[in-house]
């Protein structure tokens, strides 16, 4: 039985009085990949953002390796939880190497030469060895997102939060980014992934959580969720990805 990395207990978040997350509880074991799906506005991104306190939860508890998150030192917690966004958010004024080494060198105080050597090796693994000194604006979307993934990984986080990281990409670039994520999953990286790529979700997930109206409406193995959903809401949601019923002829 693997260790529990992250535990969420009765998490609640409201915006202007309206509940976005209601009483969310689940836990993530070491090496587990959990994919969170749901219609837009269901609270998926808010859930991720509450975990590393980009949003302040209104209630409940979040534990990282058994220790409560929040209140005290958020900087230390964020060093252990990597996050990648839909819009890449590389630092435009630094080249790729600068983007990759800023966190380890400044936040973790590791020696620059050591970090840069590691960054080079990591970049080569995602097929971008020749982009070391490129500026973000010289990269394609897929390349930027791979750099962003490497940037988060070089912090050696306990887990990764991926917030719709392929939503802004062209289809052929989606593949190159998702391959990196699949590799990470195989290497045992603990991940919490929000995505609209259902085929990818099915391939990468150990467990799927379906959020609806700020609740966990359904939770289960990908096989079961995608092929035998238990709830009517999940069936409706999965149907929006099918076009068979509305074919022209």
């Amino acid at each position: 039985m693997e260790k529990t990395v992250l535990e969420i207990r009765n998490l609640t978040k409201r915006f202007d009085g309206a509940g976005v997350l209601n009483d969310i509880s689940f836990s993530v074991r070491e090496g587990e990949v959990i994919v969170i799906v749901g219609a837009s506005g269901c609270g998926k991104s808010t859930l991720l953002r509450c975990i590393n306190r980009l949003e302040q939860p209104d209630g409940g508890e979040i534990l990282l390796d058994g220790k409560p998150v929040g209140g005290g030192d958020m900087v230390a917690v964020r060093r252990q939880i990597g996050m990648v966004f839909q819009s890449y958010d590389l630092f435009p004024h630094m080249d790729v190497l600068g983007n990759l080494s800023l966190g380890p060198v400044q936040a973790l105080k590791r020696p620059k030469a050591e970090v840069e050597a590691e960054a080079k090796a990591a970049l080569a693994r995602v097929g971008l060895a020749d982009k070391l000194h490129a500026l973000p604006r010289q990269l394609s979307g897929g390349q930027k997102q791979r750099v962003a993934l490497v940037r988060a990984l070089l912090m050696h986080p306990r887990m990764l939060l991926l917030d719709e990281i392929t939503a802004a990409l062209d289809p052929e670039m989606v593949r190159e980014v998702l391959n990196v994520v699949l590799d990470l999953a195989r290497d045992g990286m603990t991940m919490l992934i929000v995505t609209h790529e259902m085929r990818f979700a099915e391939a990468v997930a150990d467990r799927v959580i379906f959020l609806d109206g700020g609740h966990i409406a359904e939770e289960g193995a990908p096989d079961q969720f995608f092929h035998h959903p238990q709830t009517e809401r999940a069936r409706q949601f999965l149907n929006t990805f099918e076009f068979d019923s509305i074919k022209k002829s």
Binding site: N52, L54, V75, A76, R78, R79, I81, G82, M83, F85, S87, D89, L90, F91, P92, H93, L102, G103, Q106, A107, L108, L135, P136, R137, R151, A152, M155
Partner: protein
């Protein structure tokens, strides 16, 4: 043109240009400090103080420097505060410039995508490290053209210093015209003197701006 006259009084212009430059530079540097503080209290949303900063910016930008100087030089002594002419000049220029610099810096800060802040925090940077390595380099790159324009504007504004009996370029020109009636020569030298001060400054800022853009700062491509 009386070149003999121009040669004779050239040293006076040079000396006055030195004063203009010295007081102007002091005013610009202090303006940047005041502007940075104002910008910071507004962005950090410090209660009450940010309203004071907002009111100050409106007051300073919507009153002429000459009026501000008269207040400092002739008004304050009435309540027992006597400042030297130079102190009044630098204080007045800083009062005016601080407001303009605050707005220039604000435009720079606002141009930085808020997600950049989040990306830095997610990397485990402290807020101070995030400001230094992620936010400020981008904000300053955007603000540089406005800061440069303000610097040139402030040096030009020093031409009202003669009103409080400081021997700046304007004072020398007015003095020579009054004494010798050599209006053409005096004004030509005045124009050239300001150009000699301001053209290099403008060019320096243009080059800096081009370099920053070339280095890929901000969104400008």
């Amino acid at each position: 043109m009386d070149t003999e006259f121009m040669r004779k009084f050239l040293p006076m212009y040079v000396k006055a240009a030195g004063l203009t430059l010295r007081l102007g530079a002091a005013g610009i540097l202090l303006s940047l400090v005041v502007g940075a503080v104002c910008c910071w209290v507004r962005f950090a949303k410090v209660p009450v103080v940010r309203r004071v900063a907002g009111a100050y910016i409106e007051l300073a930008r919507n009153t002429p420097l000459l009026v501000q100087l008269f207040f400092l030089y002739f008004g304050l002594p009435k309540v027992g505060i006597k400042l030297s002419a130079e102190t009044c000049a630098v204080t007045g220029l800083t009062f005016l410039g601080g407001a303009y610099m605050a707005e220039a810096l604000r435009s720079g800060m606002e141009a930085v995508d808020p997600v950049q802040n989040e990306a830095g925090l997610c990397l485990g940077l402290t807020p101070a490290q995030n400001l230094r390595f992620v936010i400020l380099p981008q904000a300053l790159a955007t603000a540089i053209p406005a800061i440069g324009a303000n610097a040139v504007f402030l040096i030009k504004e020093t031409s009202v210093f003669s009103a409080v009996a400081l021997v700046d370029l304007m004072y020398v020109a007015k003095d020579l015209i009054g004494m010798y009636y050599k209006t053409d020569e005096a004004l030509l030298m005045l124009t050239v003197a300001y150009l000699a001060l301001l053209l290099p400054l403008s060019i320096a800022f243009s080059l800096l701006e081009r370099r920053l853009r070339h280095a890929g700062f901000g969104r400008a491509v």
